[in-house]
Amino acid sequence: MQVSDEVMISMDAVHKWYGQFHVLKDINLAVHKGERIVICGPSGSGKSTLIRCINALEEFQEGEIVVDGIELGPNLRRVDEVRREVGMVFQHFNLFPHLTVLENLTLAPIWVRKMPRAKAEEAAMLYLTRVKIPEQAKKYPGQLSGGQQQRVAIARSLCMNPKVMLFDEPTSALDPEMIKEVLDVMIELAQSGMTMICVTHEMGFARTVAHRVIFMDQGEIIEQNEPERFFNNPQSERTKLFLSQILHH
């Protein structure tokens, strides 16, 4: 599916500090509808912080973020509006352990979107089928494997019909044999035309799926390019060093 000209997310001169520490430095980024972006970089480079700013899990002190026409200034007034349209998948899944899988999925549609329960459950089963675990609907998250939990988390976000999906290192907490099942779901999602921003170290995934790979270091966007050129012909020394560390072992 093609990337449209319509801008879905724009970040304009965004700065963020944790106390004295300057975590994000002058971030300028436009994400188009249908575009898939992979953000990589060494730990502590601010990549998670960047995507957490997009759905206002983090405040920022300067600049402006516009998500689907909704403006998020530094004072975060229209937070709930943005969060409804932006799905987020976390490293540690953050499923609700006291609710069944089905209840995890229907909670937000029922309480935030005011959807009737029967309709919400029907939609939830559809998404569970899409992530290939409809048979686990009545179980509690604690009874599932890590890979299954992460797929439930993806389905939970999809139930809100988001316009953008953010992934914050979705495979980093998984056992190696479970990474593929989660990536397969993400690839399927990508093929359906979803706008996605993924923070990940899965370079294979970046090559297959991403329109654009962004490299961050010390709070700055150092380099961005389409995957082919990014991996074969990195421009900056820091990118080269980073790639050599994660690709050659």
Binding site: L57, G142, S157
Partner: protein, 371 residues
């Protein structure tokens, strides 16, 4: 033995019964009572202590006890407990000075409460929603008119309330009102809004730093001094409010402990789905935090149940007070042991039921949280 000695093809070994010394009564005894020399000694010592205590207790409370009817201590001729006194004073112990011909109203109130609570707390009874609405919205109003009078029912002043009935009124209202208040205080103490946080901290720390006796004393003696002339609140109502606020401060800290155990990821997961502050807390955070806090909350409830005895100092005679005054009656001098034994059994049965129910609740709400 022949079976064990026998060789089997790999993959064809049958399941066999364990050795006789590991199962059944003998296995249990070996494992639990006589597993080591120290354990054997402890078992024998414990058995000796039980031998010293239990038979005399049974003798006092049952075999040599006086069960008959009577009007004074003289009716108790045997050496054991004088249950005769409890029989003679039973009405006072249960209802205090509530008029005898109106005691059916108290009975009706508590039977209704018991049935409604059973409907709400026992798992297999349907219509939970309606039981809850009845118990928390309709029943308190019904109970008020039944106990206090009004709407055509004869007025019974709260100074006439007493005995077990007063204990139950105070503890039930205290428990029902202090839990939501405690939860709000706990949330308030963790709020981002400085005014709410400071008010919550101030209230919790002040109340926890003061003994309940002084709270009750202030409520009954000092508080009226600040009211304008002629304006007065019911004394029992003030005591009730005192007990509730006191207990709420303790519950707030127990619940705050539960809230702190909820990982940040749960908040982020809820927020990222667009849930606002109240929905996030009511649907995601509190159900988990309260489950963790059950042992501490029930601890506070049991404490509150016991603390109701302190209303004695503002002149309200609940179960313990009534038992003591019964034993002080000239007709019944020398029956204080019986009186205290009776009161202990009543208190224990209520508190033990609460404890057992809380354990059942903990098991029921366990959904394999821990990874």
């Amino acid at each position: 033995m022949a079976d064990i000695a026998q060789r089997h093809e790999p993959g064809h070994h049958p399941d066999m019964a364990p050795p006789a010394s590991e199962i059944g009564v003998i296995g249990w005894l070996r494992k639990n009572l006589f597993s080591s020399p120290l354990n054997t000694v402890l078992t024998l010592v414990a058995a000796y202590i039980i031998y010293l205590i239990v038979p005399p207790l049974i003798d006092w409370a049952i075999i040599s006890a006086n069960w008959g009817e009577g009007t004074s201590r003289a009716a108790c001729v045997k050496s054991g407990a004088c249950w005769t006194m409890i029989r003679a004073r039973f009405g006072l112990l249960m209802y205090g000075f509530y008029p005898a011909d109106l005691r059916w109203r108290v009975d009706l109130t508590f039977v209704t409460q018991f049935i409604a609570m059973a409907a709400l707390l026992i798992e297999n009874v349907p219509y939970k929603k309606y039981s809850a609405i009845f118990l928390f919205c309709i029943y308190p109003i019904v109970a008020f008119f039944l106990l206090y009078g009004g709407l055509g029912l004869q007025h019974v002043d709260t100074s006439q309330w007493g005995g077990l009935m007063l204990t139950l009124v105070l503890s039930t209202t205290g428990i029902v009102a202090s839990l939501p208040l405690g939860v709000l205080l706990a949330l308030g103490r963790r709020s981002n809004l400085p005014v709410i946080r400071l008010l919550s901290i101030g209230f919790i720390e002040f109340v926890r730093g003061v003994p309940l006796i002084s709270v009750l004393f202030m409520a009954s003696v000092v508080f009226p001094l600040f009211l304008p002339e002629g304006m007065n609140f019911n004394k029992l109502l003030r005591a009730m409010a005192g007990i509730t606020l006191f207990s709420a401060a303790y519950i707030a800290e127990v619940v705050r402990g539960g809230l702190q155990a909820i990982p940040k990821g749960q908040y982020e997961g809820a927020m990222s789905l667009g849930l606002n502050y109240w929905k996030m807390n009511l649907l995601i955070v509190l159900p988990q935090a309260l489950r963790i806090s059950i042992p501490g909350i029930v601890n506070s409830f049991i404490g509150l149940f016991m603390d109701t005895t302190l209303v004695l100092i503002i002149g309200q005679i609940e179960l313990l007070g009534m038992a003591q005054s019964s034993a002080r009656d000239p007709n019944w001098l020398g029956t204080i042991n019986t009186a205290l034994a009776f009161v202990s059994v009543v208190y224990f049965s209520f508190c033990f039921s609460m404890s057992r129910y809380s354990q059942y609740l903990e098991r029921k709400l366990e959904t394999g949280h821990k990874r």
